[in-house]
């Protein structure tokens, strides 16, 4: 085997290991996010939340998982079977796929390593970087995938032969289409400043400090885009105050009404997946991603960025929970009004302002 091919094999193995570990951890984190949300809601609401199964309820997600497995698989009469079954798969796949381009760390493996008397190169296809696929149009991929996710909801609403589910699906599609526009346009400023759509580049651009202590994050240079993106992403993930798609008190459970057992569990997981992905995107675009102090220190550089990224993402997840505990639900038509008449023009203003500030102050 030629020498370079051995490097390729080494890199591919590293990538596969990375994907495997990432996937396993990700599913585990998703399961535990349900616990995190329930416990935090408990704290906000002067009650305990689940704390019976295991110490502090730590085994609760596992118990829930087992329960979900044991439940009866129900397919409603009159359901469009193919669509009905495909819907949760599409939805959960979209939630997982978003993470393929989000950088969760800087360098997580040495560039070269000597194994068995031979030096292997791990830098092919960025295998040693903290991202599964460093694509140069990553941002477009993110939006493409989230659009596919909407199909999951529409299919669930359509396929389950239920009027409430249909209403939920229709609402979901309308909301997501309008808010994806605002979210996408809000990021134009970021892309303009960075000059790249690769999320790794965007994160790397946010390194360094002003006056030695204010990090050069986009939330400071693009405050308007930050706020718009935050609102839009709440709508896109269908979280309170924009949770019309489920909307217990109007649509009973919305699109997921007729799902049971693991199909329901997939929807449930995917929702948390979307929330996590949304938080990770916020962190990547506006809060400096894995950037933080000492990211270039000798040994620390392998895991410190990952810790920064996870911490920041967790803070945002907490923010999602906090908002859920605080706000009532918006009304559907008001949301559409907000999206088209407030957020969209605001993003256009932002697109107008960004180049002007860039021209005036340079890249800050």
């Amino acid at each position: 085997m030629p020498e370079s091919n051995m490097d390729l094999v080494a890199s591919v193995i590293l990538i596969l290991v990375k994907i495997g570990v990432f996937f396993a951890l990700f599913m585990l984190i998703l399961a535990y996010l349900t616990l995190v949300e329930r416990r935090f809601l408990g704290f906000f609401q002067e009650r305990y939340g689940p704390n019976r199964v295991g110490w502090q309820g730590l085994l609760q997600p596992i118990a829930d998982g087992i329960k979900m497995f044991m439940k009866e698989e129900v397919t409603v009469t009159g359901a469009n079977k193919g669509v009905y079954i495909l819907a949760p798969i599409v939805f959960v796949a979209a939630a997982l796929m978003t993470f393929s381009v989000i950088p969760f760390g800087n360098v997580i493996w040495p560039a070269t390593m000597e194994i068995g008397g031979r030096v292997y190169n791990f830098t092919l296809a960025n295998a040693n970087r903290g991202v599964i696929a460093d694509v140069n149009v990553a941002m477009l991929i993110v939006f493409g995938i989230s659009s596919i996710g909407i199909y999951g909801l529409i299919m669930a609403g359509w396929g389950s032969n239920n009027k409430y589910a249909l209403l939920g699906g229709v609402r979901a599609s309308a909301v997501m289409i309008s808010y994806e526009l605002a979210a996408g346009l809000a990021l134009i400023g970021v892309v303009m400043t960075t000059g790249s759509m690769s999320l790794m580049d965007i994160v790397e651009f946010q390194g360094g400090y002003w006056f030695g202590f204010i990090p050069k994050w986009f939330c400071f240079t693009q405050p308007l885009a930050f706020v718009i993106f935050l609102i839009a992403i709440f709508a896109e993930t269908g979280r309170t105050p924009f949770d019309f798609t489920e909307c217990e008190n109007e649509l009973v459970a919305g699109y997921q009404m007729e799902y049971s057992s693991m199909k329901f569990a997939l929807f449930y997981l995917a929702e948390y997946g979307h929330m996590l992905a949304a938080s990770a995107l916020m962190v990547t675009f506006f809060l400096g991603g894995w950037q933080g102090p000492f990211v270039n220190a000798p040994v620390l550089k392998y895991f410190l960025p990952v810790i920064y990224f996870c911490t920041k993402t967790f803070v945002l997840v907490f923010f999602f929970v906090w908002v859920r505990a605080t706000y009532p639900r918006f009304r559907y038509d008001l949301l559409m009004k907000l999206g088209w008449k407030v957020l969209l023009p605001a993003t256009l203003v932002n697109i107008l302002i960004s180049p002007i500030t860039m021209k005036l102050f340079g890249h800050l």
Partner: protein, 379 residues
């Protein structure tokens, strides 16, 4: 104006027009609070027509009452509006007392007022929490249930029962207040107003809350009077009518309070009326505790209770509006006929008027602002 032509969905389909969708809201829908069912016709998200269906919780309480002695009816009244059991007890006992011509001793009247106002607060707390939950805010519910729990604890301390006290007797109360009650309740009364402030910080000035409730479920004062709406719904439409003030009973004329009246006619003002009423009920309890007279808590009744022949109507201001009892006596130990004028049954009539032509989301808000207790509607 000519009646608009009503087309069937089939006809619309052939003409390429949009169809309406009929959905069945309830009897197991989460925001109907019990077993209320409405068949709603939707055009997209807009409500075209609402047809309420009642009777899923009908237990025939009025008929059962005809086979019970006057005292045996009291536990039945608890099961009408179970959120405020004491109010129903009071309404029924006052009606029979009016028939008999009995006056309850002052201490008994004060204890009645305390219990009734406590249950009014508890009922309003639960309503406000459930209303907030209907509009998607989870947390207020848990805060409000916390205080409600304390009230239920007091009810248990006095009556031995949390939800259905059945503690009132014709001619007074079953027992006197327990000795430790006064201090305990005083503590609660002092701590309660700041708690109401706390709820209000979550909702009253919240932009989203306002946008969801202001102008929603509009019902003008004129419509209220036409439909016979009473209670907080009427007071939110600017009708200054509170039976505690306008037709005082059970010693309410001795307390200093002012009915909460707002003029918004919408769900937001119904919320504000009830928040204000909680504060006032709290104030009434404080006054009652401070000036609690000594003496008997009940008149002594001898032998079987056989009211004279005749008929009587007596209404009180229950948390949901005018709760009236109409009793016909034929001189025997059992009522010949008992009719309950349930406030929510009457108030619920306004639902189609409030909802038709509005959004489906607004229908949930409007329905919630009625403060439904289906046990009372269906009886």
């Amino acid at each position: 104006m000519a009646e608009p032509e009503v087309k069937s969905n089939q006809a619309k389909r052939t003409h390429g027009e949009t169809e309406t969708m009929e959905i069945n809201m309830g009897p197991q829908h989460p925001s109907t609070h019990g077993v209320f069912r409405a068949v709603v016709e939707l055009d997209g998200e807009t409500v075209v027509k609402v047809v309420p269906h009642l009777g899923y919780l009908h237990r025939g309480i009025e008929k059962i009452a005809e086979n019970r002695t006057y005292h045996q009816v009291i536990p039945l009244t608890d099961r009408l509006d179970y959120m405020a059991g004491a109010s129903n007890n009071l309404g029924y006992c006052l009606t029979v007392e009016k028939l008999l011509g009995i006056e309850v001793p002052p201490r008994g009247q004060y204890i009645r007022v305390i219990l009734t106002e406590l249950s009014r607060i508890s009922s309003h707390l639960f309503w406000a929490g459930a209303n907030a939950h209907d509009l998607g805010a989870m947390t207020p519910f848990f805060f409000m249930v916390r205080e409600r729990e304390q009230i239920l604890f007091f009810l248990e301390m006095i009556t031995g029962s949390r939800l259905t006290p059945s503690f009132f007797r014709i001619g007074g109360m079953s027992k006197d207040l327990p000795p430790e009650f006064r201090d305990e309740c005083m503590k609660f009364v002092k701590a309660f107003p700041p708690r109401v402030d706390e709820y209000e910080t979550l909702l009253t000035e919240n932009k989203i809350w306002k946008s969801r409730t202001q102008g929603v479920g509009y019902l003008s004062a004129e419509d209220c009077i036409k439909l016979g709406i009473s209670g907080p719904m009427a007071r939110a439409a600017g009708i200054d009518w509170d039976l505690r003030k306008n037709q005082p009973y059970s010693g309410y004329d001795k307390f200093d309070f002012k009915p909460a009246v707002y003029h918004g006619c919408d769900a937001y003002d119904r919320y504000r009326v009830r928040m204000m009423e909680m504060r006032q009920s709290n104030e009434i309890i404080r006054q009652a505790l401070e000036s609690l007279p000594e003496g008997d808590h009940s008149v002594t009744m001898k032998g079987a209770l056989k009211p004279p022949e005749g008929e009587v109507y007596m209404a009180i201001e229950a948390p949901r509006g005018e709760l009236g009892f109409y009793i016909v006596s034929d001189g025997t130990a059992q009522p010949f006929r008992m009719k309950v004028r349930a406030p929510t049954f009457v108030n619920l009539q306004s639902l189609p008027k409030m909802c038709e032509g509005k959004l489906f989301s607004d229908m949930v808000a409007a329905l919630s602002s009625v403060d439904l207790v289906l046990a009372e509607v269906d009886r």
